[in-house]
Amino acid sequence: MSTAAAADAPSMRAVPPNRLIAFYRSSIGKKWIVALTGLVMVGFVVVHLIGNLQIFLPPAYINAYAAKLKSLGPVLWLFRISLFAAFVLHVINTIQLSRMNRVAKGERYVKEATVQATVASRTMFYSGLILLAFIIFHILHFTLGWIPTENIHVMDYAPEAGNAKDPLLHNVWKMLVGGFRNPFVSVFYLVSMGLLCMHLSHGVESTVQTLGLRTKPLARPARYLSWGLGWAVFLGNAAIVLAILFGFIK
Protein backbone atom coordinates (compact mmCIF):
# COMPACT_ATOMS: atom_id res chain seq x y z
CA MET A 1 0.00 0.00 0.00
CA SER A 2 1.52 3.30 -1.00
CA THR A 3 1.56 6.02 1.61
CA ALA A 4 0.21 8.59 -0.83
CA ALA A 5 -2.88 6.52 -1.55
CA ALA A 6 -3.41 5.77 2.14
CA ALA A 7 -3.29 9.48 2.92
CA ASP A 8 -6.07 10.01 0.39
CA ALA A 9 -8.24 7.61 2.32
CA PRO A 10 -8.27 8.67 5.97
CA SER A 11 -11.75 7.28 6.44
CA MET A 12 -10.43 3.76 5.84
CA ARG A 13 -8.87 3.94 9.29
CA ALA A 14 -11.73 5.55 11.19
CA VAL A 15 -13.00 3.40 14.06
CA PRO A 16 -16.18 4.41 15.93
CA PRO A 17 -15.77 5.07 19.67
CA ASN A 18 -18.13 2.26 20.66
CA ARG A 19 -18.08 -0.55 18.15
CA LEU A 20 -20.96 -2.53 19.63
CA ILE A 21 -23.28 0.49 19.58
CA ALA A 22 -22.13 1.27 16.04
CA PHE A 23 -23.22 -2.22 14.98
CA TYR A 24 -26.53 -1.97 16.82
CA ARG A 25 -27.30 1.39 15.24
CA SER A 26 -26.31 0.45 11.69
CA SER A 27 -28.90 -0.60 9.13
CA ILE A 28 -27.45 -4.08 8.64
CA GLY A 29 -26.80 -4.50 12.37
CA LYS A 30 -30.48 -3.90 13.10
CA LYS A 31 -31.41 -6.37 10.39
CA TRP A 32 -29.18 -8.98 12.04
CA ILE A 33 -30.92 -8.40 15.36
CA VAL A 34 -34.35 -8.70 13.75
CA ALA A 35 -33.26 -11.88 11.95
CA LEU A 36 -31.73 -13.57 14.99
CA THR A 37 -34.60 -12.68 17.32
CA GLY A 38 -37.04 -13.77 14.61
CA LEU A 39 -35.23 -17.09 14.41
CA VAL A 40 -35.62 -17.58 18.17
CA MET A 41 -39.35 -16.92 17.88
CA VAL A 42 -39.76 -19.21 14.85
CA GLY A 43 -38.09 -21.95 16.88
CA PHE A 44 -40.52 -21.32 19.71
CA VAL A 45 -43.55 -21.30 17.39
CA VAL A 46 -42.55 -24.67 15.91
CA VAL A 47 -41.94 -26.30 19.31
CA HIS A 48 -45.16 -24.74 20.66
CA LEU A 49 -47.10 -26.22 17.75
CA ILE A 50 -45.59 -29.69 18.11
CA GLY A 51 -46.42 -29.64 21.82
CA ASN A 52 -49.98 -28.50 21.20
CA LEU A 53 -50.64 -31.10 18.52
CA GLN A 54 -50.81 -33.55 21.43
CA ILE A 55 -54.39 -32.32 21.81
CA PHE A 56 -55.22 -34.98 19.20
CA LEU A 57 -53.99 -37.66 21.63
CA PRO A 58 -55.84 -38.60 24.83
CA PRO A 59 -55.87 -35.78 27.45
CA ALA A 60 -53.18 -37.48 29.52
CA TYR A 61 -50.47 -36.68 26.99
CA ILE A 62 -50.82 -32.90 26.73
CA ASN A 63 -51.44 -32.55 30.48
CA ALA A 64 -48.34 -34.59 31.27
CA TYR A 65 -46.36 -32.52 28.76
CA ALA A 66 -47.55 -29.29 30.40
CA ALA A 67 -46.73 -30.63 33.84
CA LYS A 68 -43.27 -31.57 32.63
CA LEU A 69 -42.70 -28.05 31.26
CA LYS A 70 -43.90 -26.46 34.51
CA SER A 71 -41.61 -28.72 36.50
CA LEU A 72 -38.56 -27.28 34.74
CA GLY A 73 -38.62 -24.32 37.13
CA PRO A 74 -35.63 -22.02 36.59
CA VAL A 75 -34.97 -23.51 33.14
CA LEU A 76 -38.51 -22.60 32.13
CA TRP A 77 -37.94 -19.06 33.35
CA LEU A 78 -34.68 -18.88 31.44
CA PHE A 79 -36.58 -19.80 28.27
CA ARG A 80 -39.35 -17.33 29.05
CA ILE A 81 -36.94 -14.47 29.70
CA SER A 82 -34.92 -15.22 26.56
CA LEU A 83 -38.06 -15.40 24.49
CA PHE A 84 -39.36 -12.15 25.96
CA ALA A 85 -36.02 -10.42 25.31
CA ALA A 86 -36.05 -11.66 21.69
CA PHE A 87 -39.63 -10.48 21.32
CA VAL A 88 -38.91 -6.99 22.70
CA LEU A 89 -35.77 -6.56 20.57
CA HIS A 90 -37.63 -7.76 17.48
CA VAL A 91 -40.50 -5.33 17.99
CA ILE A 92 -38.34 -2.32 18.89
CA ASN A 93 -35.93 -2.81 16.01
CA THR A 94 -38.60 -3.42 13.38
CA ILE A 95 -40.47 -0.31 14.48
CA GLN A 96 -37.22 1.69 14.33
CA LEU A 97 -36.37 0.27 10.90
CA SER A 98 -39.85 1.00 9.57
CA ARG A 99 -39.64 4.59 10.75
CA MET A 100 -36.17 5.04 9.28
CA ASN A 101 -37.36 3.58 5.99
CA ARG A 102 -40.37 5.84 5.82
CA VAL A 103 -38.12 8.86 6.29
CA ALA A 104 -35.59 7.50 3.78
CA LYS A 105 -38.20 7.18 1.05
CA GLY A 106 -39.51 10.70 1.48
CA GLU A 107 -42.02 11.73 -1.16
CA ARG A 108 -43.80 8.78 -2.75
CA TYR A 109 -44.57 8.17 -6.40
CA VAL A 110 -47.78 9.50 -7.88
CA LYS A 111 -48.03 6.20 -9.72
CA GLU A 112 -46.75 3.24 -7.71
CA ALA A 113 -45.92 -0.17 -9.12
CA THR A 114 -44.06 -3.27 -8.03
CA VAL A 115 -42.47 -6.07 -10.03
CA GLN A 116 -41.84 -8.92 -7.63
CA ALA A 117 -42.56 -7.72 -4.08
CA THR A 118 -44.96 -10.19 -2.46
CA VAL A 119 -48.07 -9.09 -0.57
CA ALA A 120 -46.63 -10.72 2.55
CA SER A 121 -43.45 -8.65 2.25
CA ARG A 122 -45.37 -5.42 1.81
CA THR A 123 -47.56 -6.01 4.86
CA MET A 124 -44.90 -7.21 7.33
CA PHE A 125 -45.31 -4.20 9.58
CA TYR A 126 -49.09 -4.56 9.78
CA SER A 127 -49.13 -8.35 10.14
CA GLY A 128 -46.50 -7.86 12.85
CA LEU A 129 -48.59 -5.26 14.70
CA ILE A 130 -51.71 -7.44 14.68
CA LEU A 131 -49.61 -10.41 15.82
CA LEU A 132 -48.32 -8.26 18.67
CA ALA A 133 -51.91 -7.68 19.76
CA PHE A 134 -52.61 -11.39 19.31
CA ILE A 135 -49.64 -12.42 21.46
CA ILE A 136 -50.78 -10.13 24.27
CA PHE A 137 -54.30 -11.57 24.03
CA HIS A 138 -52.97 -15.12 23.86
CA ILE A 139 -50.91 -14.70 27.03
CA LEU A 140 -53.84 -13.09 28.86
CA HIS A 141 -56.07 -15.86 27.55
CA PHE A 142 -54.17 -19.06 28.23
CA THR A 143 -51.04 -18.23 30.24
CA LEU A 144 -52.59 -15.86 32.77
CA GLY A 145 -56.22 -16.81 32.30
CA TRP A 146 -57.54 -13.29 32.61
CA ILE A 147 -59.90 -13.49 29.66
CA PRO A 148 -63.14 -14.98 30.93
CA THR A 149 -64.17 -17.60 28.40
CA GLU A 150 -65.71 -20.95 29.16
CA ASN A 151 -63.67 -23.24 31.43
CA ILE A 152 -60.57 -21.14 31.20
CA HIS A 153 -57.59 -21.75 33.40
CA VAL A 154 -59.14 -24.59 35.26
CA MET A 155 -56.81 -25.64 37.99
CA ASP A 156 -58.49 -28.91 38.59
CA TYR A 157 -57.47 -32.43 39.14
CA ALA A 158 -56.10 -33.97 35.99
CA PRO A 159 -55.80 -37.54 37.18
CA GLU A 160 -53.96 -38.73 34.09
CA ALA A 161 -51.07 -36.37 34.66
CA GLY A 162 -51.09 -36.01 38.41
CA ASN A 163 -48.77 -37.63 40.84
CA ALA A 164 -49.24 -38.29 44.49
CA LYS A 165 -47.31 -35.21 45.63
CA ASP A 166 -49.03 -32.66 43.42
CA PRO A 167 -52.45 -33.84 42.34
CA LEU A 168 -53.72 -30.38 41.45
CA LEU A 169 -52.40 -29.91 37.95
CA HIS A 170 -53.11 -27.48 35.22
CA ASN A 171 -55.66 -29.22 33.00
CA VAL A 172 -54.41 -27.88 29.68
CA TRP A 173 -56.62 -30.17 27.66
CA LYS A 174 -59.76 -28.84 29.33
CA MET A 175 -58.50 -25.26 29.02
CA LEU A 176 -57.91 -25.55 25.27
CA VAL A 177 -61.19 -27.31 24.57
CA GLY A 178 -63.04 -24.76 26.67
CA GLY A 179 -61.23 -21.82 25.09
CA PHE A 180 -61.89 -22.68 21.48
CA ARG A 181 -65.55 -23.50 21.95
CA ASN A 182 -66.06 -19.75 21.77
CA PRO A 183 -66.42 -18.92 18.04
CA PHE A 184 -65.21 -15.30 18.46
CA VAL A 185 -62.02 -16.45 20.15
CA SER A 186 -61.52 -19.17 17.54
CA VAL A 187 -61.98 -16.80 14.61
CA PHE A 188 -59.49 -14.35 16.12
CA TYR A 189 -56.99 -17.18 16.53
CA LEU A 190 -57.56 -18.37 12.96
CA VAL A 191 -57.10 -14.87 11.50
CA SER A 192 -53.97 -14.39 13.59
CA MET A 193 -52.55 -17.71 12.42
CA GLY A 194 -53.23 -16.64 8.83
CA LEU A 195 -51.26 -13.47 9.47
CA LEU A 196 -48.51 -15.48 11.14
CA CYS A 197 -48.36 -17.65 8.01
CA MET A 198 -47.87 -14.50 5.90
CA HIS A 199 -45.37 -13.04 8.35
CA LEU A 200 -43.30 -16.24 8.34
CA SER A 201 -43.54 -16.71 4.58
CA HIS A 202 -41.52 -13.51 4.16
CA GLY A 203 -39.74 -13.53 7.50
CA VAL A 204 -37.98 -16.87 7.25
CA GLU A 205 -36.64 -16.12 3.78
CA SER A 206 -35.54 -12.69 4.99
CA THR A 207 -33.72 -14.29 7.90
CA VAL A 208 -31.81 -16.57 5.54
CA GLN A 209 -30.94 -13.47 3.47
CA THR A 210 -29.90 -11.27 6.39
CA LEU A 211 -27.73 -13.98 7.93
CA GLY A 212 -25.90 -14.08 4.62
CA LEU A 213 -26.95 -17.63 3.71
CA ARG A 214 -29.17 -16.96 0.69
CA THR A 215 -26.64 -17.80 -1.98
CA LYS A 216 -27.78 -18.25 -5.58
CA PRO A 217 -28.36 -22.03 -5.32
CA LEU A 218 -30.14 -21.53 -1.97
CA ALA A 219 -32.40 -18.65 -3.07
CA ARG A 220 -35.25 -20.88 -4.25
CA PRO A 221 -35.04 -23.44 -1.42
CA ALA A 222 -35.07 -20.51 1.03
CA ARG A 223 -38.34 -19.30 -0.47
CA TYR A 224 -39.88 -22.79 -0.35
CA LEU A 225 -38.72 -23.23 3.24
CA SER A 226 -40.29 -19.89 4.13
CA TRP A 227 -43.64 -20.69 2.56
CA GLY A 228 -43.59 -24.27 3.79
CA LEU A 229 -42.93 -23.26 7.38
CA GLY A 230 -45.58 -20.52 7.24
CA TRP A 231 -48.22 -22.92 5.93
CA ALA A 232 -47.22 -25.74 8.30
CA VAL A 233 -47.63 -23.43 11.30
CA PHE A 234 -50.96 -22.17 9.98
CA LEU A 235 -52.40 -25.59 9.14
CA GLY A 236 -51.20 -27.19 12.35
CA ASN A 237 -52.62 -24.48 14.60
CA ALA A 238 -55.81 -24.08 12.57
CA ALA A 239 -56.40 -27.84 12.82
CA ILE A 240 -56.40 -27.58 16.63
CA VAL A 241 -58.81 -24.65 16.69
CA LEU A 242 -61.16 -26.08 14.07
CA ALA A 243 -61.19 -29.58 15.57
CA ILE A 244 -62.32 -28.11 18.88
CA LEU A 245 -64.73 -25.55 17.40
CA PHE A 246 -66.53 -28.20 15.37
CA GLY A 247 -66.60 -30.68 18.22
CA PHE A 248 -64.19 -33.31 16.93
CA ILE A 249 -62.37 -33.01 20.24
CA LYS A 250 -64.60 -32.83 23.27
Binding site: R19, I28, K31, W32, A104, K111
Partner: protein
Protein backbone atom coordinates in the same frame (compact mmCIF):
# COMPACT_ATOMS: atom_id res chain seq x y z
CA UNK B 1 -47.73 7.17 -32.37
CA UNK B 2 -49.43 9.63 -30.03
CA UNK B 3 -49.14 9.52 -26.25
CA UNK B 4 -50.23 11.47 -23.22
CA UNK B 5 -47.41 12.29 -20.81
CA UNK B 6 -47.94 13.19 -17.18
CA UNK B 7 -44.63 14.62 -16.12
CA UNK B 8 -43.35 15.77 -12.71
CA UNK B 9 -42.39 19.42 -13.04
CA UNK B 10 -40.46 21.11 -10.26
CA UNK B 11 -38.62 24.41 -10.62
CA UNK B 12 -35.90 23.68 -8.03
CA UNK B 13 -35.29 21.70 -4.89
CA UNK B 14 -37.14 24.22 -2.73
CA UNK B 15 -40.26 24.73 -4.83
CA UNK B 16 -43.14 22.29 -4.64
CA UNK B 17 -43.60 20.13 -7.72
CA UNK B 18 -46.67 18.94 -9.57
CA UNK B 19 -47.73 16.69 -12.41
CA UNK B 20 -48.34 18.40 -15.76
CA UNK B 21 -49.87 16.84 -18.83
CA UNK B 22 -48.32 17.01 -22.30
CA UNK B 23 -49.30 15.50 -25.63
CA UNK B 24 -46.52 13.61 -27.41
CA UNK B 25 -47.51 13.70 -31.08
CA UNK B 26 -46.14 11.84 -34.11
CA UNK B 27 -43.54 9.86 -32.19
CA UNK B 28 -41.72 7.27 -34.35
CA UNK B 29 -41.74 3.76 -32.87
CA UNK B 30 -37.99 3.58 -33.48
CA UNK B 31 -37.33 6.53 -31.17
CA UNK B 32 -35.81 5.85 -27.79
CA UNK B 33 -37.68 7.10 -24.74
CA UNK B 34 -35.25 10.01 -24.38
CA UNK B 35 -35.57 10.90 -28.07
CA UNK B 36 -39.32 10.97 -27.54
CA UNK B 37 -38.77 13.45 -24.68
CA UNK B 38 -36.46 15.47 -26.97
CA UNK B 39 -39.30 15.74 -29.50
CA UNK B 40 -41.77 16.76 -26.80
CA UNK B 41 -39.28 19.32 -25.49
CA UNK B 42 -38.94 20.80 -29.02
CA UNK B 43 -42.71 21.29 -29.06
CA UNK B 44 -42.70 22.83 -25.58
CA UNK B 45 -39.90 25.24 -26.53
CA UNK B 46 -41.60 26.24 -29.79
CA UNK B 47 -44.66 27.08 -27.73
CA UNK B 48 -42.45 29.24 -25.48
CA UNK B 49 -42.40 26.90 -22.49
CA UNK B 50 -39.60 25.53 -20.33
CA UNK B 51 -38.39 22.13 -21.58
CA UNK B 52 -38.61 19.10 -19.30
CA UNK B 53 -35.23 18.68 -17.63
CA UNK B 54 -33.81 15.19 -17.54
CA UNK B 55 -30.33 13.72 -17.39
CA UNK B 56 -28.67 11.73 -20.13
CA UNK B 57 -25.15 11.18 -21.39
CA UNK B 58 -24.03 8.12 -23.37
CA UNK B 59 -27.50 7.03 -24.48
CA UNK B 60 -26.13 3.53 -24.97
CA UNK B 61 -26.90 2.11 -21.55
CA UNK B 62 -23.45 2.17 -19.98
CA UNK B 63 -23.01 5.48 -18.15
CA UNK B 64 -25.80 5.39 -15.56
CA UNK B 65 -26.86 8.99 -16.08
CA UNK B 66 -30.43 8.65 -17.32
CA UNK B 67 -32.92 8.24 -14.52
CA UNK B 68 -36.68 8.36 -14.54
CA UNK B 69 -39.59 6.36 -13.28
CA UNK B 70 -42.24 5.54 -15.89
CA UNK B 71 -45.64 4.36 -14.65
CA UNK B 72 -44.04 3.40 -11.35
CA UNK B 73 -41.14 1.44 -12.87
CA UNK B 74 -37.57 2.74 -12.62
CA UNK B 75 -36.14 2.83 -16.17
CA UNK B 76 -39.59 1.93 -17.54
CA UNK B 77 -39.91 -1.74 -16.59
CA UNK B 78 -38.10 -3.30 -19.54
CA UNK B 79 -35.86 -5.94 -17.94
CA UNK B 80 -32.13 -5.14 -18.01
CA UNK B 81 -32.63 -1.83 -19.84
CA UNK B 82 -31.76 1.76 -19.03
CA UNK B 83 -34.36 4.31 -20.04
CA UNK B 84 -32.13 5.57 -22.86
CA UNK B 85 -32.19 2.09 -24.38
CA UNK B 86 -35.94 1.72 -23.94
CA UNK B 87 -37.68 2.17 -27.26
CA UNK B 88 -41.11 3.52 -28.02
CA UNK B 89 -42.12 0.28 -29.79
CA UNK B 90 -42.61 -1.16 -26.30
CA UNK B 91 -45.51 1.22 -25.79
CA UNK B 92 -48.88 1.39 -27.53
CA UNK B 93 -50.41 4.27 -29.41
CA UNK B 94 -52.63 6.25 -27.04
CA UNK B 95 -50.78 5.15 -23.86
CA UNK B 96 -50.78 7.48 -20.88
CA UNK B 97 -47.35 7.58 -19.23
CA UNK B 98 -46.60 9.03 -15.81
CA UNK B 99 -42.97 10.15 -15.66
CA UNK B 100 -41.41 10.96 -12.28
CA UNK B 101 -37.93 11.53 -10.88
CA UNK B 102 -36.12 8.93 -8.71
CA UNK B 103 -37.74 9.17 -5.29
CA UNK B 104 -35.63 8.90 -2.14
CA UNK B 105 -34.91 11.37 0.63
CA UNK B 106 -31.20 10.92 -0.17
CA UNK B 107 -31.87 11.95 -3.80
CA UNK B 108 -33.28 15.49 -3.58
CA UNK B 109 -34.90 16.72 -6.78
CA UNK B 110 -32.73 19.34 -8.50
CA UNK B 111 -35.24 20.14 -11.20
CA UNK B 112 -38.05 18.22 -12.93
CA UNK B 113 -36.65 14.71 -13.47
CA UNK B 114 -33.11 15.54 -12.36
CA UNK B 115 -32.08 14.38 -8.88
CA UNK B 116 -28.86 14.79 -6.93
CA UNK B 117 -27.16 11.39 -6.67
CA UNK B 118 -23.97 12.59 -4.95
CA UNK B 119 -24.78 10.31 -2.03
CA UNK B 120 -23.72 7.34 -4.15
CA UNK B 121 -20.42 9.07 -4.95
CA UNK B 122 -19.76 9.66 -1.27
CA UNK B 123 -20.37 5.96 -0.58
CA UNK B 124 -17.69 5.15 -3.16
CA UNK B 125 -15.36 7.73 -1.58
CA UNK B 126 -15.78 6.05 1.79
CA UNK B 127 -14.26 2.77 0.60
CA UNK B 128 -15.12 1.79 -2.94
CA UNK B 129 -11.50 1.59 -4.07
CA UNK B 130 -8.25 -0.24 -3.42
CA UNK B 131 -5.29 1.72 -2.03
CA UNK B 132 -2.63 0.12 -4.18
CA UNK B 133 -0.41 1.54 -6.86
CA UNK B 134 -1.37 -0.53 -9.86
CA UNK B 135 1.63 0.37 -12.02
CA UNK B 136 1.72 -1.02 -15.53
CA UNK B 137 -0.37 -4.00 -16.52
CA UNK B 138 0.94 -7.31 -15.19
CA UNK B 139 0.90 -10.62 -17.01
CA UNK B 140 -2.61 -11.96 -17.34
CA UNK B 141 -2.10 -14.96 -15.08
CA UNK B 142 0.50 -13.51 -12.70
CA UNK B 143 -2.17 -13.06 -10.04
CA UNK B 144 -4.41 -16.11 -9.94
CA UNK B 145 -8.14 -15.42 -9.52
CA UNK B 146 -10.57 -18.34 -9.38
CA UNK B 147 -12.81 -18.34 -12.46
CA UNK B 148 -15.95 -18.34 -10.31
CA UNK B 149 -14.76 -15.26 -8.41
CA UNK B 150 -13.73 -13.36 -11.51
CA UNK B 151 -17.14 -14.06 -13.08
CA UNK B 152 -18.98 -12.93 -9.95
CA UNK B 153 -16.77 -9.86 -9.58
CA UNK B 154 -17.51 -8.93 -13.19
CA UNK B 155 -21.25 -9.36 -12.58
CA UNK B 156 -20.99 -6.92 -9.68
CA UNK B 157 -18.70 -4.57 -11.60
CA UNK B 158 -21.43 -4.09 -14.19
CA UNK B 159 -23.18 -1.69 -11.79
CA UNK B 160 -23.31 1.71 -13.49
CA UNK B 161 -24.43 3.52 -10.33
CA UNK B 162 -27.63 4.86 -11.88
CA UNK B 163 -29.58 4.62 -8.62
CA UNK B 164 -32.56 2.70 -10.05
CA UNK B 165 -32.26 0.31 -7.09
CA UNK B 166 -32.81 3.23 -4.72
CA UNK B 167 -35.69 4.53 -6.83
CA UNK B 168 -37.46 1.17 -6.91
CA UNK B 169 -36.96 0.47 -3.21
CA UNK B 170 -39.90 1.41 -1.03
CA UNK B 171 -37.33 2.16 1.67
CA UNK B 172 -35.05 4.28 -0.51
CA UNK B 173 -32.22 1.85 0.22
CA UNK B 174 -29.02 1.75 -1.82
CA UNK B 175 -28.09 -1.75 -0.66
CA UNK B 176 -27.96 -3.24 -4.16
CA UNK B 177 -25.55 -0.53 -5.33
CA UNK B 178 -23.54 -0.82 -2.12
CA UNK B 179 -23.44 -4.62 -2.27
CA UNK B 180 -22.29 -4.58 -5.89
CA UNK B 181 -19.39 -2.27 -5.03
CA UNK B 182 -18.44 -4.17 -1.88
CA UNK B 183 -18.86 -7.51 -3.66
CA UNK B 184 -16.87 -6.53 -6.70
CA UNK B 185 -13.74 -5.58 -4.75
CA UNK B 186 -14.26 -8.17 -2.03
CA UNK B 187 -14.14 -11.00 -4.54
CA UNK B 188 -10.76 -10.07 -6.01
CA UNK B 189 -7.32 -10.52 -4.42
CA UNK B 190 -6.54 -6.80 -4.77
CA UNK B 191 -9.52 -5.98 -2.56
CA UNK B 192 -8.56 -8.29 0.33
CA UNK B 193 -6.28 -6.04 2.46
CA UNK B 194 -9.06 -3.48 2.95
CA UNK B 195 -12.00 -5.85 2.73
CA UNK B 196 -13.30 -5.48 6.29
CA UNK B 197 -12.57 -1.77 6.68
CA UNK B 198 -14.22 -1.15 3.31
CA UNK B 199 -17.54 -2.79 4.13
CA UNK B 200 -17.74 -1.09 7.54
CA UNK B 201 -17.04 2.33 6.09
CA UNK B 202 -19.31 2.00 3.11
CA UNK B 203 -22.28 0.74 5.16
CA UNK B 204 -21.78 3.59 7.65
CA UNK B 205 -21.64 6.13 4.82
CA UNK B 206 -24.74 4.57 3.26
CA UNK B 207 -26.65 5.00 6.54
CA UNK B 208 -25.30 8.50 7.07
CA UNK B 209 -26.53 9.57 3.63
CA UNK B 210 -30.06 8.71 4.74
CA UNK B 211 -30.62 5.69 2.52
CA UNK B 212 -33.02 3.14 4.00
CA UNK B 213 -32.72 -0.52 4.93
CA UNK B 214 -33.30 -3.56 2.80
CA UNK B 215 -36.55 -5.40 3.54
CA UNK B 216 -35.79 -8.19 1.06
CA UNK B 217 -38.43 -7.53 -1.57
CA UNK B 218 -35.83 -7.44 -4.35
CA UNK B 219 -37.60 -4.77 -6.39
CA UNK B 220 -34.10 -3.34 -6.94
CA UNK B 221 -32.93 -6.52 -8.64
CA UNK B 222 -36.02 -6.47 -10.88
CA UNK B 223 -35.37 -2.96 -12.23
CA UNK B 224 -31.56 -2.99 -12.27
CA UNK B 225 -30.52 -2.31 -15.88
CA UNK B 226 -27.42 -4.45 -15.29
CA UNK B 227 -29.42 -7.20 -13.56
CA UNK B 228 -27.24 -7.23 -10.45
CA UNK B 229 -28.42 -10.12 -8.29
CA UNK B 230 -29.86 -9.57 -4.82
CA UNK B 231 -27.50 -12.32 -3.66
CA UNK B 232 -24.83 -9.60 -3.59
CA UNK B 233 -26.85 -8.11 -0.72
CA UNK B 234 -26.62 -11.55 0.94
CA UNK B 235 -22.85 -11.33 0.60
CA UNK B 236 -22.89 -7.76 1.96
CA UNK B 237 -24.89 -8.83 5.03
CA UNK B 238 -22.39 -11.60 5.67
CA UNK B 239 -19.33 -9.43 5.07
CA UNK B 240 -20.64 -6.67 7.31
CA UNK B 241 -21.31 -9.05 10.19
CA UNK B 242 -17.89 -10.65 9.87
CA UNK B 243 -16.19 -7.24 9.67
CA UNK B 244 -18.16 -5.95 12.67
CA UNK B 245 -17.19 -9.00 14.73
CA UNK B 246 -13.54 -8.51 13.77
CA UNK B 247 -13.77 -4.81 14.59
CA UNK B 248 -15.27 -5.66 17.96
CA UNK B 249 -12.30 -7.90 18.67
CA UNK B 250 -9.93 -5.20 17.51
CA UNK B 251 -8.82 -7.19 14.48
CA UNK B 252 -9.70 -4.64 11.81
Amino acid sequence: MNLTLKVWRQKDSKSPGRIETYAAKNIPESASFLEMLDIVNEDIMHAGGEPIMFESDCREGICGTCSMVINGYAHGGQRGTTVCQLHMRHFKDGDELTIEPWRAAAFPVVRDLVVNRSGLDRIIQSGGYVSVRTGSAVDGNALPVPKKNSDLAMDAAQCIGCGACVAACKNGSAMLFLSAKVGHLGLLPQGQPERHRRVLNMVRQHDQEGFGNCTNQYECEAVCPKEISSTFITRLNRDYAVASARELLGAV
